[in-house]
């Protein structure tokens, strides 16, 4: 453990989400020399989104490794490194290329602890940018977090602001089990926020209540939080809107912090879930099912899901017809407020 912080780094930074990722990686590498990075183009190039910018220069090629162009290699190698005592943080360049890693995640990373009854563990982090809205080529815009959330033994974490990117990534790195860390690339450079480089992790398995309200619980995660915040602030700030909305950022999409959700719905009695991923078997379905199983007597209206369609993500000329807008969220909220059992 190297605790000789570069004190300059402890200053407050006004940075965007991808810079917060970079800051967290740098902090983790300073604090723990077992942390290593591997992936495609992450070295001299600093990653295609610059998430690892400057890290190879600072920490050398034995800790920031450009791999051959082979995602199975990246995942399988990370499994081996983690078992052998390193803390590998692997980058998959886009979520569209992540599927070659699934066998290693499902068959090995997620169950190494279980299949050896704790003899071996697999504390790796697999990072990937995900989601649409940046006019990217085919295979560069999908949101398939639910695939990973369905794998017992994995944690799936999605930040929605620079500060949460910093704190949750540190938490993922500190976690003794594998974490899939999905970065909403539409937010990578959307806004700058203040981030304090204090090395403090945020809690995993915990929702973040971004706005408190009493009439409706709005649940989302990742890039959609941007539109949700705008809509909620709109409703909550207008005195005659007559609406007070609670906004919950799910953050860890598996395992889900149902305690926070339950407390909120017991208070509001209404729930809207927003996600960019396809509707069927999305995380929203799991939340809605949980509400149906446990909270029906508190509900004043049916749950509504505002999600992507069960289609292939349209290429970018028609991507706008798939993406969730503020108007979609507003309309959904109004529908639920107007309905009752």
């Amino acid at each position: 453990m190297n605790t000789n912080y570069d004190h300059q780094l402890e200053e407050k930074h006004n940075i965007c989400l991808v810079e917060a990722v970079n800051l967290a990686l740098r902090r983790a590498m300073l604090d723990d020399e077992s942390v290593v990075l591997l992936g495609e183009d992450i070295g001299v190039n600093g990653g295609v989104f610059r998430a690892t910018d400057g890290l190879q220069e600072q920490f050398g090629i034995s800790r920031v490794m450009d791999t051959p162009l082979a995602e199975t290699t990246i995942a399988g190698t990370a499994v081996g490194m983690a078992v052998a005592g390193l803390k590998p943080i692997a980058e998959i360049q886009f979520m569209g290329f992540i599927y070659a890693t699934l066998e290693h995640l499902f068959c090995h990373a997620a169950r190494m602890r279980n299949r050896t009854r704790g003899r071996l563990t697999c504390p790796l982090v697999l990072r990937a940018p995900f989601g649409g809205g940046i006019h990217a080529p085919e295979h560069h815009s999908e949101s398939t977090e639910a695939l990973f959330a369905h794998i017992p033994g994995l944690r799936v974490v999605i930040p929605s602001s620079p500060a949460r990117a910093y704190g949750l990534l540190l938490a993922a790195i500190n976690n003794p089990d594998p974490v899939i860390f999905l970065e909403p690339k539409r937010l990578y450079r959307a806004e700058k926020h203040e981030v304090v480089d204090d090395g403090k992790a945020l809690p995993l398995d915990t929702c973040f209540t971004l706005r408190e309200g009493t009439d409706l619980t709005l649940i989302s995660w990742g890039a959609c939080i941007k539109e949700c915040l705008s809509v909620v602030d709109g409703f909550n700030s207008i005195a005659d809107s007559g609406l007070s909305i609670e906004l919950i950022d799910l953050a860890t999409v598996n395992p889900i912090d149902f305690a926070t959700i339950e407390a909120s719905i017991k208070k509001t009695g209404r729930c809207v879930i927003v996600h960019e991923a396809a509707k069927t078997c999305g995380i929203g379905a799991e939340i809605a099912a949980h509400i149906a199983e446990h909270l029906m007597s508190y509900c004043k209206a049916p749950v509504k899901r505002i999600t992507g369609f069960d289609t292939v993500m349209p290429y970018f000329r028609n991507e706008q017809h798939y993406m969730i807008t503020e108007l979609d969220i507003e309309a959904g909220i109004k529908t639920v407020m107007a309905s009752s059992f």
């Binding site: 800790r63 399988g76 190698t77 081996g80 050896t116 009854r117």
Partner: protein, 374 residues
């Protein structure tokens, strides 16, 4: 000592390295008997190797019998491939890392993993991979069922050892079928590119369940797949312990000295069915199996140590008795393990327990009571 390491030799079918002919006589080269490696004159080492090989075979027979009587589940026999696995186990040093596939019972036994734990694993109990090996690095990898995925882990471990500046080597085994998979080819690629301290051993037993070697690949040898990755590669008679042990020792020593990876294609034959759930008579002729029996490794090696005066009938009888005694004890130890509690399925999923799963643990207990009351 190894003369066949030059990769270009493998662009054509080479002759696998061999010291002992099928009947156990030392092979003749030209007009004279081939010079054996020095260790082949070491009585203690040779007897030890033979004991491991015959214990592995006895274990195998017992495991098949236990499956037939419902005491363990489906089991993949290693019949006829004992020399490869035992040579792997013996060539590894204590702190090296063994990354085997699922047919390496011999290697596991040599590494100090107990027979009762192997029975536990094949008996459907996760604790089979929870042993603390008596010897070994402590992180020998568990039995790997998804084909060739262990090759990716092996390069990851080798990379970690290199980064940590440790002087150990990694040994990864796989079957001929696994040599067709992307994981293996990607692992070779990374091992060659990063010059990792890893040795790959293909147990080419000619059959991947029902698919014969010639359908797996159009390459004349499987060893030459290493050449494409810039890795010195060699074919060895996998039924010849002396050849296997020599090559693995040198390959591992090379890896420990940070001279890069190696690939060994060990030519053998799967004398058994693929597993106890398979019936190989559906797809391969008995004549082929009969022919392969004439080249099997155990009899061959037994002949050699008899000829050298290291072993005799009396020693054989004593040792076989000893094997049976060990097996009876191991089976009793295995059967003394009560099944884990139902809720144990939750015990090792996460170090940090997600409380949202509390109700599932309770439901599991209730389910047990409901289905087992009275």
């Amino acid at each position: 000592m190894l003369h066949n390491l030059s990769p270009h030799l493998l662009t054509n079918v080479s002759t696998p390295l061999q010291y002992l002919s099928a009947n156990g006589d030392v092979v003749i080269e030209g007009n004279s008997v081939k010079e054996l490696p020095e260790f082949a004159r070491d009585k203690e080492l040779m007897v030890q190797a033979y004991r491991w090989m015959s214990l592995t075979r006895a274990f195998d027979q017992k495991a098949v019998a236990l499956q037939r009587t419902g005491i363990i589940g489906t089991y993949p026999s290693s019949l006829g491939q004992e020399a490869i696995s035992v040579a792997c186990g013996m060539a590894l040093e204590r702190d090296d890392v063994f990354v085997p596939y699922y047919r390496d019972h011999g290697g596991y036994l040599v590494r100090g993993h107990s027979m009762e734990h192997l029975f536990l694993y094949w008996g459907g109990d996760e604790r089979g991979s929870a042993y603390k090996p008596n010897e070994g690095s402590g992180f020998d990898m568990p039995i790997c069922v998804p084909i060739a995925t262990q090759a990716s882990h092996a390069v990851g471990i080798a990379s970690a050892l290199k980064i940590q500046q440790k002087k150990q080597a990694v040994l990864c085994t796989l079957g001929d079928g696994a040599s067709s998979k992307g994981d293996f080819l990607e692992a070779l690629n990374l091992a060659g590119s990063w010059q990792l301290p890893v040795v790959f051993v293909i147990n080419n037993n000619q059959w991947a369940i029902s698919v014969p070697r010639h359908i797996q690949s159009g390459a004349p040898t499987l060893a030459q797949k290493g050449s494409a990755a810039g890795i010195p590669s060699i074919q060895v008679d996998g039924n010849d312990f002396i050849a296997m042990y020599e090559v693995l020792n040198e390959a591992l020593e090379r890896a420990r000295k940070r001279k890069g990876p190696m690939l060994v294609e060990a030519i053998s034959y799967r004398l058994s069915d693929h597993t106890t759930a398979d019936d190989a008579s559906r797809y391969r002729p008995q004549e082929e199996v009969d022919e392969a029996w004439s080249k099997e490794p155990s009899k061959r090696f037994q002949h050699y140590i008899h000829q050298q005066g290291f072993w005799d009938e009396k020693a054989e009888v004593c040792w076989q008795d000893d094997c049976q005694t060990q097996l009876v004890k191991a089976v009793a130890a295995y059967q003394s393990f009560e099944a884990e509690q139902p809720e144990a399925m939750f015990d090792h999923l996460y170090e940090n327990w997600p409380t949202c799963m509390d109700d599932q643990v309770i439901a599991c207990g209730e389910k047990y009571l409901r289905n087992h009351s009275g």
